[in-house]
């Protein structure tokens, strides 16, 4: 039996279209609005919004399409991002700050510095990244709701 603290109280899924930069960032903006409406602390909202923004940009920049799901439980927030696309040949290499395969279009927009994945790690309490090369990428991150007073 699941512990009450891990029960899913809210779940919403957003579709992300790869390569469509017009509204890039709008999904993390919607996630932020939901978290604000739910009354979470500024720090929790900020950390989740930053990580969601980076994850959303990654799907738009590198995948064909994907979904971002937000789960709210009494103890933590969880975001799951699954995409179909080129995938990541070596996840450990991709995690390195500064490593990037971004094209000119992405860099023109001010992204693709190779900071995204490490920034997700920095802003979350748990992060799992797995990928099947030429199939897609699965990213999950968790932000705890307690112990967020510092910083």
């Amino acid at each position: 039996m699941a512990e009450a603290g891990n029960d899913i109280r809210f779940h919403e899924m957003f579709h992300i279209e790869g390569g469509n930069f017009t509204n890039a960032g709008s999904i993390s903006s919607q996630v932020k609005k939901i978290l604000k409406g739910a009354g979470f602390s500024g720090k929790v909202i900020r950390r989740t919004s930053i990580a969601a923004f980076e994850a959303e940009m990654n799907v738009i920049c590198y995948a064909n399409q994907g979904n971002l799901s937000l789960f709210i439980t009494p103890n933590f927030l969880k975001v799951v991002v699954e995409d179909e696309g080129i995938g990541i040949p070596d996840v450990n290499v991709a995690m390195r700050e500064g490593y990037s395969t971004a094209n000119e279009k992405i860099r023109e927009l001010g992204f693709g510095a190779g900071m995204g994945l490490s920034n997700i790690k920095k802003n979350t309490d748990e992060m799992i990244l797995t990928s099947e090369f030429r199939q897609g990428t699965h990213l999950e991150f968790v932000i705890y709701l307690s112990g967020q007073d510092k910083g």
């Binding site: 500024g42 900020r46 919004s49 980076e54």
Partner: protein
């Protein structure tokens, strides 16, 4: 430092109107690379000094809880960017000064950086 002071120091225009002139800005961060703004802009309420004017600057600003954005070297946002800024209540300013001058003048008047340097590199 209040937005009113920032406006005066830089002969800037308040693109989103004068409603936020008394808003307090705690720190500054200057970048044309939004990846860096997302990774290094610590804490809420900072001023982003940038030449990036497309809508993603507002989405990024929203994610990091920016206090305001000032566009440098005469750059002006398009309608979509302006609309998003208004929706997300992020004040926008514009100045003709280049980024170096903008930072220098604000620093001279006491505004400090979000972080002074990164840990590695």
């Amino acid at each position: 430092m209040k937005l009113r002071e920032i406006r005066d120091i830089l002969n800037a225009e308040m693109i989103t109107g004068d409603a936020n002139l008394e808003k307090e800005i705690k720190y500054g961060f200057a970048a044309d690379l939004l990846s860096d703004a997302l990774a290094f802009s610590r804490g809420p309420g900072a001023l982003l000094i940038t030449g990036v004017v497309h809508p993603q600057v507002i989405y990024a600003a929203n994610a990091i809880d920016l206090g305001a954005i000032i566009f440098v070297r005469g750059k002006r946002p398009n309608g979509a960017t302006l609309q998003l800024a208004i929706e997300n209540q992020i004040p926008l300013l514009a100045t003709s000064y280049i980024m170096f001058e903008t930072c220098g003048r604000l620093y001279q008047h006491g505004l400090r950086a979000c972080i002074e340097k990164v840990k590695n590199g």
